[in-house]
Amino acid sequence: MQNMACKVAGVHFKNPIVMASGTFGFGKEYAKLYDINRLGGISGKGLTLAPKAGNPGVRVWETPSGMLNSVGLENPGIEYFLKEETPYWETLDTARIVNLGGGCIEDYRIGAELITAHEKRLREGGRCSIDIIELNISCPNVKEGGIAYGVQTETARAVVREVRQATSLPLVVKLSPNAENIVEMAYMCEVEGADGISLINTISGMKIDTRLRKSVFHNLYAGLSGPAIKPIALRMVHQVAQHVKIPIMGMGGITTANDVIEFIMAGASVIQIGTYNFMNPRAGEQMADGILKWMEQEKIVSMDEIRGIL
């Protein structure tokens, strides 16, 4: 009997299909299309301490096999999320991941504390709404005094350390492909006590309107995602898997069950689907079916048989 289940950071995933932050809202929207409890997990829209309106101007541009987005972390803020969205998350039977972004270290710390305190209160009452914090140190779309935490290992260390101290919840750090050294960055996270690594976030890119002679994006650059970035993401997952022991959630351009298998062969424990949700809003359930079919065909009983075989 095939079993797609897996554990990341001590949390049970019924299958390796997780929906990526920023592409799945808080889950409710897609729940109208299919039973999202069939998913291994969902990562919610990136949250910051204060609500954010995001970037003005054009927010999306298509590229060959990909898209550039400049949403700029628009979100309703952590407190709103905890109050208004977690009651729905409590009802879900899938791994629930809070994606935590921030402007300064202090914001990250307070954010993590609020989430942890909320969850602690719930769990004391025998309830539960959040399984993992996914720390986003890698959003290329927010200009906060030019700080890009996800680029330099030493700058990132301070954030990871602070958040690790602020939470007892499982902590996964989401890395940027724009990091100066992805392996060093991942290793730093492991040393600082992260329970897992998510990668990759979008790759910084650009689009110029030649008629207007300026970037189409208000912030000049935007984040590239979709099939175009898959080879890069796969290579990075493979490199990181060689150097850390903690589990990896791999993502970047996944659109088929075969893509999922590639990431798992490269060393990922579970994968996330982002842009493909826009190409096929029923991606979640179809992908889970696809993986099962593939396992049956290949006579594979557990993903452990193929994980990190390269």
């Binding site: 799945f24 809202g25 929207e29 897609y30 987005n69």
Partner: protein, 233 residues
């Protein structure tokens, strides 16, 4: 997967595509259309032009890669539809004017059929099309080619004005109608990725903060929209 029934040229770069099947939808709502697999990456939001027995139709303007592919579709070709999405036009009481600019007339036909003989104002920059189709469902039909349609309307005659067209046209209409007593509704066009409220690429800057064009809109009460801050598409 659905099947194209017909796809005919209406005017230069404007096509009317019929698709077979049973479809739901209210006036002003849209579908996300896709007639390719991986590329282009995103589906395209297109308003409901009309719904008939076992068919739905879309009126579209060929502007880029996606609509270029729609143009090449022939009867029998497969196409994927997700929807209906969006809030749609409100069912308003009293005397209504529908004001369309260019391809913005697309969602107004379905609305004209459902409202009580609205007056219809259609503005085109170069060439008019489908004007006669609207007549059976309209009180008055005013068509303008090359001029400024929003200047030809006596807003005080209406309880509500529903408009869809270029951003500048809807902004100008909203300003002209101010103080007339007519309540103005605008159908905004925004680039979309998910179409269902999950990605926030379609945010519209409104008085009370951002709203999503795909689920809170595409139809908004004009007084809510901060046209000064909005950039169009």
């Amino acid at each position: 997967m659905n099947t194209v029934k017909s796809n005919v040229k209406i005017a230069k770069d404007v096509y009317l595509m019929k698709i077979e099947g049973h479809f739901e939808g209210r006036m002003g709502q849209f579908y996300m259309l896709r007639a390719w697999s991986d590329y282009p990456v995103l589906s395209r939001p297109i308003s409901i032009y009309d719904i008939g027995v076992q068919e739905i139709s879309f009126l579209y303007h060929v502007v880029g890669e996606g609509t270029e592919r729609f143009k090449q579709l022939e009867a029998g070709d497969p196409i994927q539809l997700e929807g209906p999405y969006g809030n749609g036009f409100p069912v308003v009481q009293g005397k209504v004017a529908l004001v369309g600019g260019g391809i913005g007339i697309a969602p107004l036909y379905f609305a004209a059929k459902q409202l009580q003989q609205p007056d219809i104002y259609l503005g085109f920059s170069r060439e008019s099309y489908l004007v006669d189709e609207f007549r059976p469902f309209a009180g008055e039909v005013v068509c303008d080619v090359g001029g400024i349609i929003v200047n030809q309307i006596d807003y005080t005659r209406y309880d509500a004005v529903i408009t869809c067209g270029p951003h500048v046209m809807m902004k100008a209409l909203t300003e002209r109608a101010r103080g007339s007593g007519a309540k103005v509704y605008v159908s905004l066009e925004k680039r979309m990725a998910c179409g269902i409220g999950a990605c926030l690429v379609c945010s519209v800057i409104c008085q009370g903060g951002n709203r999503k064009a795909c689920v809170d809109g595409p139809v908004f009460a004009a007084e809510e929209v901060r046209f000064d801050a909005e950039h169009g598409v």
